[in-house]
Amino acid sequence: MTDRIRILYLDDEEQNLFSFQALFRREYEVFTTSSVQEAIGYLNREEVAIIFSDQKMPDISGVEFFESIIHQFPDPVRILITGYADMEAVIDSINRGQVYRYVTKPWDVNELKICVENALEKYYRAAEIKTKNKELEKANAELERFIYSASHDLRAPVASIQGVLQVAKMEVTDPKAIGYFEMIEKSTHSLNEFIGNIIHYYQNTRDDEMIKKIDLNELIEESIKKCQAFSHCEKIIFKTEISQSTDFVADDQRLRMVLNNIVNNAVKFRDESKNEQLVSIQVISNQDKAKFVISDNGLAITQDKLPLIFDMVDESGSNTASSGIGLYIAREALKKLNGNISVTSNIDEGSRFVFEVPNKS
């Protein structure tokens, strides 16, 4: 019978093995032995729920036995049987042998039965958790795969629309038509940005990284250019200040994700009523880390929303199209970079984001 619950009992005293067998053999499949080799052989052959072991044996102690099999057979519940309440052995067994219970000899039959029942319950609970975890991992992996393929499938037609718009704007001269194209372009851009964010989110959850020397000038210019290309932010004046003492090395793609999202955020929440709209990007880089400070004189984030802006929730004062997960992605990417980020904001001065990224050179 394969579905019977199996219990293994290792003891050098034949008499104990015999009475244990007699006590449990009706209910369970009991394997008793005085040989460690045989015990391990049995564990290799069968799925065992509970292992009992005597502490005092001639060749090996019970604790040592448990300790020796814990990596190979982590699942069975381990119970130590001791001749007397040897505190040291008990403490040892818990720490080294990860023993669930200990039973003193001579055992009380009822106590032993309850002990087996409890151990079984623990065994099944652990097995259940293990199964659930496996299911969760599988569901998670499937979800990620879905996000990945969905965002790529969404991106393809958007890229086509953007291409058509590009050509249309080169060929068509009717100002009315061009006005409509620009409207389509604006919406397409929002959609594209949202899909881009999902793709970035997915890329960030994966563990691979591409560590390389970062050209800070190029990095910042690129991220400003990206914003200027789409945001109609001609009025914004970008100020860049870089102070660098040694090479700065980091995961290029994640760093771009962070900087682009923060700069994009500063641009998006510019204050259109101001004549002088500013976004300043300052970097101080040394051998330990690079510190980025991005400040603007745009719309302030209210104090109650400030702690929430990195969460995956709605964003403060949204008057422009945005998917609202850009800052969340920035923070998640920073976590992978072992960096940190903070933000301050007030109505007079605008917002100021500060983030630090360790230098891996």
């Binding site: 790529h152 393809a156 086509s160 953007q162 291409g163 058509v164 590009q166 080169m170 591409m210």
Partner: protein, 136 residues
């Protein structure tokens, strides 16, 4: 600098709209009027074999989509590595994709004939810059 006037372009893409857009972009930006269209990778490979003399000048640019049914852009690159295509080693290939990540870049740029991986929609100014570098 000015680009050579006789560059031939070979667009390999299963997406008709992207083919139409890229053709127009190349024409309107006056990069080339000599454009050949293939709706899938096998027909491009077949054309290489059939009209191999057409591909012998040094100004042959291939713009190839990565994600195509039947034979993907990568599969096509693998085909081109076979001895029977060795005479086309001068082809300059740009891989196109609507979304690229670093694995795509790593993978595509490991092929000698691949110049760059470009994201769709095609950025003609960027393409022009790369072409200038090639033909300098």
């Amino acid at each position: 600098m000015n680009l050579p006037t006789n560059i031939a372009f070979h667009l390999v893409d299963d997406n008709d709209i992207d083919i139409a857009v890229n053709t127009k972009l190349l024409q309107l930006s006056q990069i080339s009027d000599n454009i050949h269209i293939y709706n899938n990778a096998p027909s491009f490979l077949a054309s290489l074999k059939k009209d191999s003399s057409n591909f012998q000048t040094s100004y042959q640019i291939v713009l190839m989509d990565i994600m195509m049914p039947v034979m993907s852009g990568y599969d096509c690159l693998d085909e081109l590595l076979k001895p029977e295509y060795s005479s086309f080693s001068k082809l300059k290939v740009f891989m196109l994709s609507s979304s690229i990540d670093r694995n795509d870049i790593r993978k595509a740029e490991s092929y000698l004939i691949v110049q760059k991986v470009l994201e769709k929609p095609l950025d003609v100014y960027l393409l022009k810059k790369f072409l200038e570098d090639i033909f300098e």
